[in-house]
Amino acid sequence: MSKEQSQLRVTDLDGVTRFEFVDRDILDEASIRSIGEEMLTRIEAAAKPRVVITFQNVEHLSSAALGTLITVSSAVKKKGGQLCLSDIKPSILEVFRITKLNRVFTIHPTAAEAVKSLA
């Protein structure tokens, strides 16, 4: 699998940007960095970013990925925007609970609910 390809699927839903991970694992540092950069570029381009990050396919993530999510969240806040997460598998949700990051992020069960909350 070439690492040149984007590991991110980006969709616009009623003015809300949805980021979706392509890979099952968000572990590889190089991928995490490029995912973070792609998200930040799009967030910088928006006046008041409204963003949903969905975790549908994600089976594994590491503390490096959590770090990137926090960086993205700070960028969104700085621009007065809003960020939600959705579709997080129970095993991954546990990682957010252990690190208490469920307090930092707003987490919805589905992307539809997340988009609705930002609309």
């Binding site: 590491s62 503390s63 490096a64 959590l66 926090i70 252990i98 930092v104």
Partner: protein
């Protein structure tokens, strides 16, 4: 030695900071855990802990020097998983690492690796001077 149906699966090798090697080690670890009837939740936990230990070894221990490696050893029985990761660095004081779940640290992007290892494993021991970490998962008595 010899390939008798031994009680413990041993593994020992050198890993370079390349994604394919790290993934290869994870595949072999998952295979060994499955052979000892550890379930998916435990595979998830152990794999996460190994990932964090390796990232720390390569980044903090070896300071991203691509010519340096990490030594990985594991021993797996039906009851217990022990993994040791040793880097070529000079160590650190694990007692001085700030708690990433403290309110004032919650929005700092780094500093969650060791706490995740501790949360998922039964024991996490940084052996002096700190360039070697021992991860133990012990099956709960049922």
């Amino acid at each position: 030695m010899g390939a008798s149906p031994a009680k413990a699966s041993q593994w020992s090798g050198k890993l370079h900071p390349r994604r394919d090697e790290v993934e290869a080690a994870q595949v072999l670890l998952a295979g060994a855990l499955t052979a000892h009837n550890f379930d998916e939740a435990i595979c998830f936990a152990v794999r996460l802990a190994l990932e964090e230990a390796l990232v720390n070894a390569f980044r903090h221990g070896n300071r991203d020097d691509p010519t340096k490696h990490a030594l990985v050893d594991w021993s797996i029985t039906d009851d217990e998983v022990t993994i040791q990761v040793t880097d070529q660095g000079s160590g650190f004081d694990p007692g001085s690492v700030p708690d990433p779940t403290a309110e004032e640290n919650l929005e700092i992007p780094s500093g969650r690796g060791i706490m995740l290892m501790r949360a998922y494993m039964t024991e996490v021991e940084h052996l002096a001077p700190g360039n070697m970490v021992r991860l133990v998962y012990r099956r709960k008595q049922s």
